[in-house]
Symmetry: C2
Subunit: 493 residues, 2 copies
């Protein structure tokens, strides 16, 4: 592990390689034998579980319930909604057979050609179609609405170029699918869930995000409006971290889902869907970590505090063990997850490097001399600062320190984003700035044509039109046509 | 809902139909548009979530960590372990293509014949193969062992005859996969996890189970020993509720997973795997429920207590609302999940029938007269007994009552199993008894041949050899050959 750390590429040398190595070296995830599919290792999964648990609680607080819908979707369902099929039908995993048989030539097993499905099944790339087909039987009156359902599931999109967590063929996510009696209620729900994502990102991931709406060109296939939270990574590139869609009546019409309203009239149901995925793990890693390894926000760290003993002999270790035992109990009683690592087969230096690599927010080190002095060494992972603190009451100081670290890394990420956000008013300036990274606030004429030309020439996309973008008269940086507000351009993951 | 209850088939009329109807009427699950795949509805999923949470805590208490492995498995992996391929390769979902394209004839989308995979991928029926292929890179020394990993996942087995929860093509489960340095440690782990399952079944599901070992014929494909918990349903049929496998070195050999032991020698790793699935939902429903609907054990009920107001006018309702509000708060503070249903669009009688159908353990009814008298009506779902109780301190009495119900339904199920367990010593008696259902304790000569003949003639299988079966000299009921202990025969789900 100490060697692994030594080998970690520096961010300044190659940010992309630093990320790829860090994911593997910190035991978060790895490539599997199946192209594009990852294995999420226990340490990485423990972080994902904490994210899941918190998001799930937040969803439930808004009245959402969980359910589960089938993994496989009949091929014909995908064609029902015209935009949706364009977006999702192309790169997907197709199940065509339901049986294998022994190879007649004795070489393992082969697909049984007689077990061909009448209609092929698709591994869900997203579940609007199968869910709205189900909702048809669940909804008949306004009394059945709103229907607020979420599922935690795996989905599959056959991506050609994959990167651990950021873009994988199979990924884990949650997808909320709500049904409403009115357009206004559905729109409000889509925005409400965007704010849930924003709050989660900021309070738990320490990830500042811009909340905004996507342009028509960047909308979810089948949505009337796509809301997004956009984060900035350390290299100045944007990472779309969660989206919430107002689907209008598109899926209700495609799957014939109507309800009797209060005026006793038959009407199509209004819909939203919203999701975040294991991609958030990528955002978490890339936002806070450094050349020494991961930096985890205390609110999501599987181990918040590690205690490492230093000792010369078994007697000293016993002394430290005895001193630490009640401290561990007090941490646990406070709901702080703590690990006392007194394993005898690794040197303290090795442990220090390992827990740094793993991003444990606070490290405590204690030896015989500390005990004699009534002190303990405290190291905070975000700044790597060390200090000697009184042993007495250390739990309370660590508890405050964890909150301080949480705030500090959020503020650091926020400052970075602010420093890397630029107002640009000319096309020359735009082309120059986009090479240096960051968010560019610029005027745009509102057409897909211009958006696509800018993307072609600079690889920059419109990340979003911020919800709080002030009205401001201006001229499109590309065409010079009039514009009412600035949008955010960036290169993105 | 009241109508739905009225229509529920009685158990005595048709137990199987009663079950099928109950699952749907109580809003637990339903068939989906994809053959053999179910939709788990919010109320059913809420029960499954409680089961998951509890099991997950119990696994973690034994040192197990969660991780996630790919959904898809290369076809060739299945052939690596000779017994495993026989058991699982046959009825599985095969992914052969990775792209759809627009139908040249304009009818939706078709499989793109040019997007054929070089090697077909199988949707995991179970994950031993992909996991042991991964473990090869995780294990090199005894210091890497034991490796104790679990995953919560969906799996797929192409079943021809499916029933909601009991046997579905796709189902949700957890699969633990552990790796050990010694045979003894792996065997002990397989048995430890069996006891975790047994404890969970008894303490949370109120489901008495027999812990035992499967015969060679009934073993998991690839295991040296399969341990099982077997439960008895109300119709006297057995339901295998969870299994834990000692896999020996079979998968380590198939995927070349070796480690350097403490003596510095290279050795194959020892393995276990163990799983329970949404099938447990079927066991839960069938064990306790009655002709009025579900009966849920309080430890797993999403709503433990429902409070229904009775009132003549809005003023009375306001009075009841005011009286109930602090009671609800006190229940919540005690960690009891409570629902106060003062919805004005349904009559109390309708609500009573609905919550009975949904199996809510305790119902409280309160009206103006109760408030005047300082009383509240308490109905327990298991016995349907009603009583009037003092309003003062009702939370504590309900809390005790919930525990009483939990114990009572366990004892009732246990008594049923005991009354339906028979020692049988002759073949004539065996054939007669098996028609009446129940567990038959009988001697068997230990051969697969005899086991299969008995199954052919009576449809009875050997559910297990109980771990606590006393040694007893006897003669096989079928062949008359000598036997050392009785095994459990039953017809099964």
């Amino acid at each position: 592990m100490a060697n692994e750390l030594k080998d970690l590429t520096k961010r300044a040398v190659n940010y992309s390689q630093w990320y790829n190595e860090l994911v593997v070296k910190a035991d978060l995830a790895e490539q599997s034998a199946v192209r594009g599919c990852m294995v999420i290792k226990p340490y990485g999964y423990a972080i994902w579980e904490k994210m899941q648990r918190q998001l799930d609680d937040m969803f439930k607080a808004t009245g959402v319930q969980n359910a589960y819908f089938p993994l496989l979707i009949p091929k014909s369902f995908l064609s029902r909604e015209a935009d949706h099929v364009e977006g999702f039908a192309k790169e997907c995993a197709v199940v065509t057979h339901y049986r294998l048989k022994n190879d007649p030539e004795g070489k393992g097993v082969v697909v049984d050609p007689e077990a061909r499905l009448e209609e092929e099944l698709i591994i869900r790339p997203t579940s609007e179609t199968i869910i709205w087909n189900t909702y048809r039987n669940w909804i008949s009156s306004y009394r059945d609405l709103p229907l607020l359902v979420n599922q935690w599931a795996n989905v599959f999109r056959w991506e050609m170029r994959t990167r651990l967590f950021l873009r994988t063929a199979e990924f884990l996510w949650q997808e909320g699918h709500t049904a409403h009696a009115t357009k206004e209620e559905a729109q409000a729900k889509a925005i409400e869930m965007l704010h849930v994502y924003g709050d989660f990102a900021e309070k738990y991931m320490a990830l500042p995000v811009v909340k905004g709406v996507k342009t028509a060109n960047e909308r979810f296939a089948g949505a009337l409006e796509t809301y997004t939270i956009e984060a900035m990574m350390q290299d100045g590139k944007a990472l779309q971290s969660g989206t919430s869609h107002f689907l209008g009546q598109n899926f209700a019409k495609a799957f014939d889902v109507k309800f009797i309203n209060k005026e006793n009239q038959l009407e199509y149901v209004w819909a939203t869907s919203w999701g975040v995925s294991t991609r958030l793990m990528g955002a978490l890693i890339m936002t806070h970590s450094d050349d020494n390894g991961l930096v985890l926000p205390p609110h999501l760290a599987p181990i918040q505090v590690v205690i490492v003993p230093v000792y010369k002999n078994a007697e000293q270790l016993r002394e430290v063990d005895a001193c630490v035992a009640p401290i561990v109990e007090r941490f646990k009683a406070m709901g702080i997850s703590v690990k006392y690592d007194n394993a005898d087969n690794k040197r303290p230096g090795f442990k220090f490097a390992d827990y740094e690599l793993k991003g444990v927010p606070v490290r405590l080190v204690i030896g015989a001399r500390d005990i004699a002095n009534g002190t303990i060494e405290v190291m905070r992972r975000d700044t790597l600062e060390k200090s000697s603190e009184p042993l007495q009451g250390i739990e309370n100081r660590v508890s405050s320190l964890l909150e301080e670290i949480q705030q500090n890394i959020y503020q650091k990420a926020l400052r970075h984003r602010e420093e890397m956000t630029f107002k640009v008013d000319t096309w020359e300036e735009f082309k120059e700035q986009i090479e240096k990274g960051g968010f560019i606030l610029a005027h745009w004429d509102g057409t897909t044509e211009t958006e696509e030309k800018i993307k072609e020439e600079t690889k920059a996309t419109i990340r979003c039109i911020p919800l709080d973008a002030p009205e401001e008269e201006g001229r499109c940086i590309y065409t010079g046509k009039p514009s009412k507000r600035r949008v955010i351009f960036a290169r993105n993951y």
